[in-house]
Symmetry: C2
Subunit: 245 residues, 2 copies
């Protein structure tokens, strides 16, 4: 037996997220099906980030165990022949048999894209959240600074989370304007349920003037989901980088 790691890119638009759900198409179900078909054994992958319905990824990570003699690095080619076109393996390799992608230190980077102009652009609609409300990027930057570092992010966590602690470390949180898109980029050692989307929704409130950037400190202190802004829609979110430390 050996353990193989896959780096997986997907367009989340037509998937009910990563995780297996009875009767629904998910990234995990598609990977299990493609692997089981290829290897003629029942394969069940373990994912690193269980992204929500509609969220995209350039580099999510999955591992599986197999008795196959196919070399680890060949799986990307073989699987891409069998996967639907909205899921593509970016690389594959053999890893240590005890490697578990959720039980090791990592840095993940997410991007949240906002299209901020008078009218939507159809070619961006699947990968950016559209709003015509003018957003002040400088105010969003100032608000973002309050969240960098180690904090209790309970206010930025959906009530349905079962995390044992709500303390997380954000290494970097930037807000940039590229043409008519605003890109929020956040790198951390882990994220609570909906954390990046709640951060994005709250930063947008700072950008629109609904909140002062300085309020971010109070929101953190409140440790209450109701203190933060809305959960921004899934389509704007993409997992762009995953590093194991």
């Amino acid at each position: 037996m050996k353990r193989v790691m896959l780096v997986v890119a997907y367009d989340g638009s037509a998937c009910y997220g990563w995780q297996l759900q009875p009767g629904r198409r998910t990234v995990e179900s598609e990977l299990n099906q493609a692997l089981s078909g290829l290897l003629k054994e029942e394969i069940q992958v373990t994912g690193a980030s269980r992204t929500d319905s509609g969220v995209h990824a350039l580099c999510n990570v999955a591992v599986f165990d197999t008795a196959s003699r196919i070399p680890g690095e060949k799986f990307s080619y073989a699987l891409n022949q069998r996967l639907p076109e909205d899921i593509r393996i970016q690389s594959s390799r053999e890893v240590a048999p005890d490697f578990h992608p959720r039980h090791c230190d990592s840095r993940k980077t997410y991007e949240y894209r906002i299209l901020n102009r008078e009218f939507p652009l159809p070619t961006k609609r699947l990968y950016a959240y559209f709003t015509y409300t003018p957003l002040d990027v400088e105010k969003m930057k100032r608000a973002a600074e309050f969240l960098v570092g180690e904090h209790d992010f309970a206010s930025f966590c959906s009530a349905s989370s079962s995390a044992s602690t709500t303390v997380r470390r954000i290494y970097e949180l930037t807000v940039e304007k590229e043409g008519d898109e605003i890109i929020i980029r956040v790198c951390g050692n882990g994220f609570l349920y909906n954390m990046v989307r709640i951060i994005a929704g709250t930063l947008m409130e700072a950008g629109s003037g609904r909140r002062q950037p300085e309020e971010m400190a109070e929101i953190l202190t409140a440790k209450n989901r109701c203190a933060a802004g809305p959960t921004a829609p899934a389509c704007g979110l993409t997992l762009v980088r995953y590093e194991f430390l």
Copy 2:
């Protein structure tokens, strides 16, 4: 009666191109339907560029005549409520009653995007053509230079074209690398049927080493479609700019 001009953006992935076709969903059919529903009169738009199935646009142009008293600039808001999400009006205004978008001098700019890396990225698949064959951007640039200016582009025109002359002027033709994407940007006073896609297909052959950049001169001289490279797939092509002179 007045004539109204619409600037229209669309994702061509799910449309059979611009032009009306019996029983098929096209950009023109969707615009006619939305306008006729809004105005309670039979409306038939006239388009500037009749883009092919799968081709995208940020700014195609259409005009229509109406007896409505709705001010020209209000149509964008009213139509966007009625159009499907892959088509969005970017602006609207009243124009001279004899303005015809195909019978006046214009400069159009198209972008052709190529994703050039080992594996496809699902989130780019609808808006860029993927190839894993390494392309040399410097060679593509050198090949592109031969096409700038006024030339007989008969070699870069699909056989099914009914154009009266195959002479066109290319003002600018650039090739740029942005990360793992190569962007061919071409600005001209008009384009023959499939011309930009044949230029893209031929420049890719120069980039892969199948052809020398210098062969572009011979291809122009041949005035024969068989002399040029293949028609690159539609998904990579987007009409990005339209200027009336």
